[in-house]
Symmetry: C2
Amino acid sequence: MTRIHSGRTPGAAPRKAVPKKKLFVASYGLTPVAQMTFESIDALRSCGVVYSGSVDAMTTKSVHGLGIPLVSLANPGPCGLLEKVLRAFKKNDRVGVLFYGNPLFLNQQMSELLHAVSRLAEVEVVPGVSSFDMLINLFGMTRLSEKGLFIADLNFFMEDPKFTPGPDIFFFAPFRLNAPDCGKFKAGFIKALSGKYARRFPAYLVKCDSNPARVEVIKGCMSCLPALMERCGKQHTLVIFSEGRLSSIDNPPPWLRFTARSVCDCDQRPAGPVRPARPSRQP
Amino acid sequence: MTRIHSGRTPGAAPRKAVPKKKLFVASYGLTPVAQMTFESIDALRSCGVVYSGSVDAMTTKSVHGLGIPLVSLANPGPCGLLEKVLRAFKKNDRVGVLFYGNPLFLNQQMSELLHAVSRLAEVEVVPGVSSFDMLINLFGMTRLSEKGLFIADLNFFMEDPKFTPGPDIFFFAPFRLNAPDCGKFKAGFIKALSGKYARRFPAYLVKCDSNPARVEVIKGCMSCLPALMERCGKQHTLVIFSEGRLSSIDNPPPWLRFTARSVCDCDQRPAGPVRPARPSRQP
């Protein structure tokens, strides 16, 4: 048996090797405070100070009400947050950071912070409800399809968008393709995606929310994908369902609560070459 | 715009259309009580009765301490649980069911129950921390790989295991292949998997737990996959990492806390045909 890596001095008793200082990385899920877990609250309460760059005044007040010494930072960026955390460890043995969703999911800025902090403190990540969990529940995906589920983050997937059609697919952060310097990648992605499916195969833009009234499910198809992409906000996921799932999305069982809104008029258009997409930016 | 399905009578005001009776589907995450969220607790407290088939005596006591009228059922099965819930709605307007993990993720038995219940009650699913979230955090997957992440449930994927190598891959429920009637599918799956990777490409069996001391990461390779599969317990996930991720798994940053235990001695074996796997069932 090979111990590949333990994070501890080999042979040392675990308790002695644990550094005194500790960083807790926790979350309020997708709905501030309502989706916090007991273990997140306990961990953050034990800290001398907790930082978050993603809470508004009302959330801050609610978190304070839980006995958590939260300090709200306005858009600190990875460096700003790291600086605050490192400075806080001079006065505190336990420091916390509070995020949206499952703390490490789609949160690349954490790598640098955790790497820097781990030189002087142990790191404990407390899991939270993620956008992945919300999507699974929203569409009643009690079983994965026979062809599985593929997920990708367009921040990293856009340059070489190779994938096999068939599974359910969640493309996170599609809004990134609308950046002015991503035109080439956007065109490549749309070509890669629409080239793998029939012209009228549905595509959905989905915004999750724990309040059903705020959930958004916008339906388009491969032919109108360029126009659909123009509607992407920061919180949207582009979802392509497996063929097996599609029937239960178009005719959902009565216990599913979403309403899909079609923005596709491709069936009403005259046959012929695909018209260029009309920009129709979301308000 | 086409309203595909709303679950409400078309044209009716939403509030009037909501049935009086309601089923809450909630979770205690992966660590009983510690990973419950406020919204789960609030929802279940409002119920006349809450059923769970996956709680022990200590968890039941803790849940009672939260003011939740939990009734523990010993292995009720989907029909047993459905019968209890339907009967409970005769006396109660609000009934709850309490599960492990994110309530709908990898939980096919829910479909039938929700379908039956939705004839007489509205259904609200309250999200919870899932094994997916735990895996993301365990391996520090703060970003998805350039090739994405593929997940499949071997309950449904085993018959036709087609996938493209390259992404990170989570195969859930690999223990299912060890069932006596699944020998053919197991052989097919091992062939499909090992045929797509180099002989020494690593494969991991992973059991998540919020207590780091109980986390299990067992490392094998494609050559010893048959022996590795024999070690699958019900809670294991078979994980194949993308090439880009592998280096950070073999040399993890200091803030990652898992210890991988190699059970592979393929490099020590003489070159030649792959030996048949020795059965070494897990206790």
